[in-house]
C-alpha cells in the first residue's frame, strides 16, 4: 500500500477526541439513568391488568425494538422540534433519544425478570397482608432488579455503542470528532482505528464483567 502510517496525526489531536469521549460518556450515563428507572416503570405498565395501560406501553416498546436506532435518532432530531415546537441543545436531545430507546429495551429485560418472580412469593405477600405497593417494592422490585442486572448492563453498553449514531445528526461525540479529524488530517486509518479502540477499551471490560456476573448467578 502507498500509505505510510503516521500516528502523530492522532496523538497530536487527542484533545478533541477526549472532548468527544466525554460527550459520549455523558450521553451513555444519562441515557442509562433514564433507561434503568423509566424502564422499570414501563415494565410494570406492560404487565398491567388494565388494557388501557398495557397496550400503549407495549406499542412504545415494540416501536423502539422494531425500527433501526438511526431512524429513531434522525426522526427525533428533525421531528420533535417541529411537532412540539421545542428547541433543546443537541446533547440533551441525544440523551432523550437514546434514553427512550434504552427504556424500551430495559422494559423487556425487567418484564422477563418480573415474570420470573415465583407466584408463591406474591401469594406469601398477600397472606402476610402486604399492600400491592409493598408487594411491588419489597418482593418484585428487589428480585427483578437483581435478575436483570446482566441484561441491563449489556443494554447499557449497547447504548454506549449506539450513542455513536448521534454523530450523524451533528452532536460532537467521539465518533463525530473522529470523523472530523479523519477528514481534516487525511488520516482515516489511524484515526478510525484509534477511535474504534477507544470504544473497545470501554465496552470490552464491561462485557467481561457481565460474563463473570452471569457465570456467578448461574452457579448460585
Amino acid at each position: 500500500m502507498d500509505y505510510t502510517l503516521d500516528l502523530g496525526a492522532v496523538t497530536r489531536n487527542m484533545g478533541p477526541l477526549m472532548d468527544g469521549l466525554w460527550v459520549t460518556l455523558q450521553l451513555t450515563l444519562a441515557a442509562n439513568v433514564i433507561g434503568v428507572i423509566a424502564g422499570f416503570a414501563l415494565a410494570l405498565l406492560t404487565t398491567s391488568k388494565l388494557a388501557l395501560l398495557r397496550w400503549p406501553s407495549m406499542l412504545f416498546v415494540e416501536f423502539f425494538r422494531c425500527t433501526p436506532a438511526i431512524v429513531q435518532i434522525v426522526w427525533f432530531f428533525y421531528c420533535v422540534p417541529m411537532i412540539f415546537n421545542v428547541f433543546w441543545g443537541p446533547v440533551f436531545m441525544g440523551i432523550v433519544a437514546l434514553g427512550l430507546n434504552l427504556t424500551a429495551f430495559n422494559a423487556e429485560a425487567y418484564r422477563a425478570s418480573i415474570q420470573a418472580v415465583p407466584r408463591e412469593h406474591l401469594d406469601a405477600g398477600i397472606a402476610l397482608g402486604l399492600s400491592p405497593t409493598q408487594r411491588i417494592l419489597n418482593i418484585v422490585l428487589p428480585q427483578a432488579l437483581r435478575n436483570s442486572v446482566p441484561v441491563l448492563l449489556t443494554n447499557g453498553i449497547g447504548i454506549f455503542q449506539q450513542s455513536a449514531l448521534v454523530a450523524i445528526v451533528g452532536v460532537a461525540d467521539l465518533m463525530y470528532q473522529g470523523k472530523t479529524l479523519a477528514t481534516a488530517t487525511y488520516r482515516p486509518i489511524e484515526t478510525f482505528t484509534v477511535v474504534a479502540l477507544i470504544y473497545l477499551a470501554i465496552s470490552y471490560p464491561v462485557g467481561q464483567f457481565v460474563n463473570w456476573l452471569e457465570r456467578r448467578q448461574s452457579h448460585s
Binding site: C66, T67, I70, W75, Y78, M82
Partner: protein
C-alpha cells in the same frame, strides 16, 4: 402545533422508496447468508481449533462486538480501500462490513449453543464407541444448530435494522432515500414517520415469529 401534516406528498416518491427498500432487503439477505456461514465456521473453530487460531478469532469477534457498527462501516468504506489499494463499490463495501459484523455475533450464538449440549451426551457417545466425526456430525451439531435457531433469527432481524447505517456512508438504501426525500421536500415528519413505519411493518412480524419459534423449541426441549 403550527403545522399541518400532508402524507399525500409521499405518493410521488413510492418508486424511490421501493428501490431503497429493495436495496435494504437485498443487502440484508445477502449478509445474513454470508454472515451466518462465516459465524458457523468461526464458532466451530473457536470451540476446537488450536490456541493461536482461537486467540486470533477471539480478537476478531471482540473487535466487532465491542465497537459501534457505524465505525466498522467507516473503517471498511474509507480505510480498507487505502490498505488494499483497490476501490470497492458501495454495495461490496457494505456487504463486507455487515457480513463481518454478522459473522462475529453469530459465531457467539453458535459457540453458546455448542456449549449448551450436555456433557452427558458426549459421555454417551464415548460409551457407544462412536468415532469423533460421528460424535460431532450426528450428535452435537444437530442439537446445537437447533438450539441456535431462535437467536439466529433474532440476529437476522437485528441485521435488518443495523443495515440502515449504510445510509451514513452514502449507500442508497431505504433510510438514505427517505432522508433525501425528507430534505428535498422539507417534510421530515411525514417522510421519516413513513420510513420508520416501513421498517416496523417488516421487523415487527419477524420479531413475533422469533418468539413463537422460541416457545416451540423450548417446549420441544423440555418435553
Amino acid at each position: 402545533m403550527g403545522m399541518t401534516l400532508d402524507f399525500s406528498i409521499l405518493l410521488r416518491f413510492t418508486d424511490a422508496l421501493a428501490i431503497g427498500l429493495w436495496t435494504t432487503i437485498k443487502l440484508t439477505l445477502l449478509c445474513i447468508v454470508l454472515g451466518t456461514s462465516l459465524g458457523f465456521v468461526i464458532g466451530l473453530l473457536r470451540s476446537s481449533g488450536n490456541a493461536f487460531v482461537r486467540g486470533l478469532l477471539g480478537l476478531y469477534v471482540e473487535l466487532f462486538r465491542g465497537t459501534p457498527v457505524l465505525i466498522q462501516l467507516f473503517w471498511i468504506f474509507f480505510c480498507l480501500p487505502l490498505i488494499l489499494g483497490v476501490e470497492f463499490s458501495n454495495f461490496v463495501s457494505a456487504t463486507i462490513a455487515l457480513t463481518l459484523y454478522m459473522g462475529a455475533i453469530t459465531s457467539e450464538t453458535f459457540r453458546a449453543s455448542l456449549r449448551s449440549v450436555g456433557r452427558e451426551q458426549m459421555d454417551a457417545c464415548v460409551a457407544l464407541g462412536l468415532p469423533r466425526a460421528a460424535q460431532i456430525m450426528n450428535v452435537i451439531l444437530p442439537q446445537a444448530v437447533l438450539r441456535a435457531v431462535p437467536t439466529l433469527l433474532s440476529n437476522a432481524v437485528s441485521l435488518f435494522k443495523e443495515s440502515a447505517l449504510v445510509s451514513a456512508v452514502g449507500m442508497a438504501d431505504l433510510m438514505f432515500i427517505g432522508q433525501n426525500i425528507s430534505n428535498n421536500t422539507a417534510r421530515p415528519v411525514e417522510v421519516l414517520t413513513v420510513v420508520a413505519g416501513i421498517y416496523f411493518v417488516i421487523a415487527f412480524p419477524l420479531t413475533r415469529a422469533v418468539t413463537v419459534v422460541e416457545q416451540k423449541l423450548l417446549r420441544k426441549f423440555s418435553a
